[in-house]
Symmetry: C2
Subunit: 494 residues, 2 copies
């Protein structure tokens, strides 16, 4: 069937979708979510069918195409294309198989990941895959196959060095910016640490957002390799690279129900690490009621799985279970966190001691994995000698940034102090509310927005004393966030 | 936040969706599939958020709205509306709970069905519900609650009569048009049988499509009631009524993976029956490799479930397990099937005996449920006396149709005979290919398109003898279907 292209000016955000008029669709006996092949010249692309019931958007004889199809086939409005029926992707059978509780084979997992990466599955179909892996938990074997498939269908960083260090903190803890302290210490010690990080999705800042205050974070793989070979380390945004790209698409459909299939969490983290060829990986699993991992039991289960998969992928893995009941550090939001980090590296008296201690402990573990003795002492020595700071400056410059004094980092000009309504001891801080307020203040979109904490759990506080300050860059958001903060009980004091 | 409406001229096909520019969304910390309240004057509607990354479709300050939102809030382009953050529907928590393998309570199932009926869930979210019920099979208790909730959130036909007869054939068998024979027989015997039927989704004809050859099938509930009170029966399209509307929305997301959650199949059928207040229900479960139910084991399991639910809903239920290995009757496609039915009712020698026998057997079972003895004899007597035909004419007229002779039913003018390539005995007919060819010929869109079978399984056939004829209404489809038929092996002859 020949149809004339109509650019309907919408992006699906992933899946390749084309819209046919219901009369044309009936001709080929097509239904919503069936597949068609679109042929333009020598190029062919298989896409998901959507059907328009009226002639308003897509009249008979036209083929409405989403942005993704336009760019894949380099189409222009009114182009003539040839349409034919295509089989549904094989991976739908395999997803059904998993939903039926069966174990998937290597080729099957491979096909599913290929189809995800190439936008061949609709969001509904992908949701079935997530649901299948969530209810019929993948075996360790399947998780390893999923990890390998995710790495295979994406780019890989090859450094030909040994060891290659990596670390990962599981999310949900505001301010937990250990990466920016650990990477320069490990790199200064002479090890390679090609670190990729994420931007925030639901938090006030991801590590990539915070690093962006100091340097660029979006680089192609080739440039990332140059930076690492030059400075031993990097702190770049994983989203700009094509490392295990299936992962991001899976995460997007997990959100509505806040599903976190353990096998996908494991595969996701391990795939990102595997795709930068890391050999020694430290995993930080914070536990707390607002953290991703709620209790020690879950954490131990996860630790066990990580270690099993690590052995199978021939990687050294160490899992640390840490305290995730309150924010780490004082600053929450990109600029405020970057300032904390520089204070730690510069040995400034204003540095947050909790963040520093956690980083020292993590470095000690990394050094011990790499075969070094007295790791804690070594890490502290690198930090105290200023070598960590110098290395950070080196990395910042390699990532097209400039050295900047902590004090010169721009913080939001509107500020509002939240005071304690009574005297006593801080017994809890609500991580969810901290995140929410910092986000409404403008973080991570506005780098200078966020929260600065004066108190942590266990601290004494007097009535009328400051608990935290909210910073905003815009008047509008500032007025709104002040109202929100008024109605929230962020600190529990007794 | 105040935004100006932009009609983006697209229907979602169900869910209420509005598109915000990414900058506005960031202001309220909103993500894809979060919820917002839209307020226009006194009207408020909660909708699912989609986010536009460029300003092409939805610039900052605008709110792109899908057709469903336009009609729900009676919006016009450039209307000013007030936006605020809304909580996600409670039902998402319950869907997650089911996905976690827990049993759902009455209020939880009720809330899910309410949200489905009111278009509060996105397709992805609905897919999670289907997946949850598929992998964590619902208990009989839950299925009953789901059935009741589906009935509650929709219209109900109340007749104040007893008994009220109903029947249902589970799908997948081409030509299985028993309803059009059974309804007039039961009605002629003095029983009430308010039958609703579906249109085809993937088959060459649904019962409603076939009835539509003879009369109208789309009526509001009030008119349906009048027809039934006047003639004792009706054969109308369920889709025009608002009986258990959640069901159709669930079926739509089941399609991509061809998932058929048993609990949903049960709830779907029982809800449709319950919503017309039937008291005595006969269920026909055909088994065959291309049928919905593949084997006797599955059929017996289903029978057991139907009976359990029937008892709990205080209904008389009888389940017949029938042969679904080949088409029933000779005509496949609306007009060809309608002709078969009239031939049976008119006692024409050309009538398909297999269809007639099945209908007699089903009527006998219905009569016996209703307490009548010698049901088979009674059914045959009503048929042979012409009372069934008279009743059918009465129903056709009540449904705004006219009496028509079977010969006057318009069959597609293009026809092509498919001949046997060898002599022998028919050992199998491929139901899937029969359906596919009939659909490509134009059925059910073109009423006169389809297939007429001369042979059934067990029949002898000579080389060069006709196996079936394909009918089309349009030259274009005719040429295409001839090609398709050439490459298919529909009959197995040995």
């Amino acid at each position: 069937m020949k149809l004339k292209v109509k650019d309907i000016d919408i992006a699906s955000g992933g899946p390749l979708i084309a819209v046919m008029n219901h009369e044309d669709a009936a001709m080929l006996d097509l239904h919503v979510m069936d597949r068609i092949k679109i042929k333009k010249g020598e190029k062919i692309e298989t896409v998901v069918v959507d059907i328009a019931q009226s002639k308003k958007i897509v009249p008979k004889g036209r083929l409405g195409v989403f942005e993704e199809v336009i760019s894949s086939l380099k189409l222009k409005n009114n182009d003539n294309v040839e349409i034919s029926i295509a089989r549904k992707p094989l991976s739908l059978e395999y997803i059904k198989k998993k939903l039926d509780g069966q174990k998937l084979a290597k080729e099957e997992i491979d096909q599913i990941v290929w189809d995800i990466v190439h936008n061949k599955l609709s969001a509904v179909e992908l949701a079935y895959f997530v649901a299948a892996c969530y209810t019929n938990v993948m075996t360790t074997e399947e998780t390893i196959l999923l990890t390998k498939a995710m790495v295979k269908h994406g780019d890989v960083l090859k450094l030909n060095k040994h060891p290659i260090i990596d670390k990962h903190s599981i999310g949900g803890i505001p301010g937990n910016r250990t990466t920016l302290v650990i990477v320069p210490i490990i790199a200064a010690a002479g090890y390679f640490i090609p670190k990729t990080s994420s931007r925030s999705i639901t938090s006030p800042a991801g590590t990539a957002d915070t690093m962006e205050v100091l340097a660029n974070v979006a680089f192609p793989l080739k440039k990332m390799k140059q930076i690492v070979l030059k400075t031993n380390g990097c702190i770049v945004w994983g989203g700009a690279l094509n490392l295990a790209p299936a992962d991001d698409k899976i995460i997007a459909v997990e959100r509505p129900l806040e599903i976190d299939a353990e096998s996908q969490l494991l595969a996701s983290i391990m795939a990102k690490k595997h795709s930068v060829s890391s050999t020694h990986i430290l995993i930080d699993v914070p536990i707390g009621k607002d953290a991703k991992v709620k209790n020690k039991f879950e954490a131990l289960k996860l630790k066990n799985e990580f270690e099993k998969i690590g052995r199978r992928l021939k990687k050294h893995i160490k899992v640390l279970i840490t305290d995730g009941r309150q924010p780490i550090g004082n600053g929450i939001g990109p600029a405020l966190e970057a300032r904390d980090v520089l204070w730690v590296l510069k040995r400034d008296p204003r540095r947050p001691i909790d963040l520093e201690k956690k980083c020292m402990m993590m470095c000690a573990n990394i050094f011990s994995m790499a075969g070094l003795k007295d790791g804690y002492k070594k890490a502290l020595e690198i930090l105290n000698s200023g070598k960590a700071y110098s290395k950070m400056v080196e990395i910042i410059k390699a990532q097209n940034g400039n050295e900047i004094a902590a004090e010169d980092i721009k913080i939001g000009k509107y500020s509002h102090d939240v005071l304690s309504s009574k005297s006593g001891r801080v017994i809890a801080i609500d991580n969810m509310l901290i995140s929410r307020i910092a986000r409404i203040a403008g973080a991570p979109k506005d780098k200078g927005a966020g929260i600065y904490l004066y108190k942590h759990v266990g601290y004494k506080v007097k009535r009328g004393e400051r608990l935290f300050t909210i910073y905003s860059e815009s008047k509008h958001e500032f007025e709104y966030v002040k109202d929100v903060a008024k109605s929230c009980k962020v600190f529990a004091v007794r």
